[in-house]
Assembly symmetry: C2
Homo-oligomer: 160 residues x 2
């Protein structure tokens, strides 16, 4: 006998934002752990260097929220900047924009169906979870790159 | 000016369960993609073989829900069984138990503070997200192992 109220909140919008930004702080530390050259060139198994993965993550984060706020589903650029510090600057810029745009997503939006980036149909919460999960997925791959380079990755559990 | 109702639901308990089980289907396909020997022995960068990561994931999934349902926070075993088929059997057993236990978590529980596994304090939603995110993280690492072995990993986006 289910005792669930399926309209109950598992997580509020504010909590999900904080959860995401916590993950983003870990990813930022992962980017920092690479050298400029490693970020652009090192890879395993024929996969992309971590700089390209990080740019994919950036290309989806703010654009996803823009889509939810004003229906503009233009994906961001994935061109990897020449240096780590430029990539980190893009990261930090996104951090601020995420906070600003998040506050503009109406609470009821998360349960509405959207056509993300013109091609992915589903409720808005699924779109944002895809973006977050994709970051966790690629950061996990970046951790393997770091280990293979003899570099200690940041702690997965430390979201501060 | 924030237009959020912070008590609004981003995702309902049923939706989060389906989201998790979708990820678990991808992870199951990742386990399947390894051979018995690769699952037990292959690794990169001095990390654990994917079989050990998969057992860590199993050791947290059902035990986390048991903790939320009856306060029994005993972690599961992480011993890697000798064959892939035995590991997959444990995986499938967990899949059913997750569905059963999830239905017993009271809706209001997700916002309550718990002391997960006797040491991790925080709201219940954070505990379950940790378990899910940890799975995504390690599966991402398994994908690098697969690529390095010349094996195509399952599609990240296909949760069917």
């Amino acid at each position: 006998m289910p005792i669930q109220d399926t309209t109950a909140s598992v997580i509020t919008p504010e909590q999900l934002l904080e959860h995401w930004q916590g993950h983003r702080r870990v990813t930022r530390r992962a980017i920092e752990a690479f050298s400029d050259v490693q970020l652009r060139n090192f890879s395993l198994g024929g996969m992309r260097p971590f700089g390209e993965m990080a740019m994919e993550v950036i290309s989806m984060a703010v654009p996803c929220l823009r889509g939810l706020v004003n229906g503009d589903w233009t994906m961001g650029t994935r061109d990897v900047p020449p240096t780590k510090s430029e990539l980190l600057a893009l990261w930090d810029e996104a951090t601020e924009e995420i906070n600003t745009l998040w506050a503009q997503v109406p609470a009821q939006k998360w349960q509405e169906n959207v056509m993300a980036f013109g091609q992915y149909a589903g409720p808005a919460f699924q779109t944002i979870l895809y973006v977050i999960d994709n970051e966790i997925h690629h950061r996990g791959q970046g951790f393997v790159y770091l280990r293979a380079l003899g570099i200690e990755p940041p702690a997965f559990y430390d979201r501060s």
